[in-house]
Amino acid sequence: MIERSLETIDPVEITVLSGFLGSGKTTLIRTLLERPDLERTAVIINEFGEIGLDHELIESSEEDLVELSTGCICCVMRGDLQEAIERLMLRQQTGRVFDRIILETTGLADPGPILHSLIYNEYLKPLVRLDRVVITVDALSGLNSIANFKECPQQIALADIILITKADIDPTNVDDLRRELRRINPEAFIYKSNFGMTEVDLFSLNGQQIEKISENGIDEHSHHHTHSDLYSISFRRKRPIKAVTLTLFLETLAQVLGQNLVRLKGIVYLEESLKTPAVIHGVQHVFHPMSWMADWSGEEPETRLVLIGRKFSLDWVGAVLETIEEEVAQTIS
């Protein structure tokens, strides 16, 4: 543990970059680091295996590159991740200033536990602020990876932004892949990326845009099956929900679903805050602090939730919410 005080350092935004093996994460980072506006970016690279190779492929100031090579972050490296972030943050005190960290995971990582650490770890919370999760998916082998490797859909489910890479080599599967990605994660932004050049600047989307549930992603009470065992369900509810009902509902979902709930994201029409939509965002059983949007931007107020996971049905989720609503109403009356 590094003993110097980090109390005076402002938190730095951290972008988690994940994606299945060979999907183009390192190429993307190389291209990003060539941009003058991303000059003040530090990179943490995690590699799975005894010999780290990826960091050799990235040309960057060694000072701002930290390699973790003793295992996969999501399994055993969370202590090392904490130390790596601490080491980077201490450089802020010695004049080497950066204003963004990119954390590249291994191709086999489940980003969930990493996000838990960044959101929930008492030591890391004052140092970094999770900004966005970017996932690369290979246009050539993405559908196959989704169908055959459980890590791949798990990564896609947790993305804020999905980049389809290598579409320039063979665009045949891009439409099918895009549909599959949309089924797994209906609210993520999906763009193409060739040799690390993305259709849209990854960092041009502000937090509010990322928090906002994409209208394309929410059908009226929908349930999408995919080639993997992950799927998404979404529903809307026009009646406001009491805060206590929401808390009990989230607790019950997490308790019953366990690892079958991969992600929950949504806007809630809260009875206690009718004019300001509440944004909820959970990764497995860990939920971010609730944030608030300024207003409904002219839209009709309603709760809109997207759940990504396995084995649950829209009917079951709705029945649980209705029952908890009834129980709360009976208790209050």
């Binding site: 607790e251 059983h285 860990v286 602090p289 649950f312 009917d315 029952t323």
Partner: protein, 93 residues
């Protein structure tokens, strides 16, 4: 609580937990029996003057009484999946 919603909740939980058993749903009183080979687990729900009451009689014959859906599902999970700890939600501050 309607019989239809009761059935959706119980069947949904069994599917999520990968529990295969014969089920027998009853409308009045609202409840169901889960047949685990020779033994059974019974679940019932009623609304009383003091609120909701969920009752479970487990494989050991002992009755558990719960005031909410969440606590009933928690208890049912422990009976049907004794080796699987329940997840707990964490709200980051």
């Amino acid at each position: 609580m309607t019989p239809e919603r009761f059935e959706v909740i119980i069947r949904g939980a069994l599917e999520i937990w990968d529990i295969e058993c014969k089920t027998e749903f009853l409308d009045s009183p609202l409840g169901c029996l889960l047949w685990m080979t020779e033994d059974k687990v019974s679940i019932s729900h009623e609304v009383t003057s003091f609120g909701n009451v969920w009752r479970i009689v487990g494989l050991d014959g002992r009755e558990r009484v719960h005031p909410s859906l969440g606590s009933m599902l928690n208890s049912l999970s422990r009976i049907l999946r004794p080796d699987q700890p329940n997840a707990r939600v964490i709200f980051a501050r």
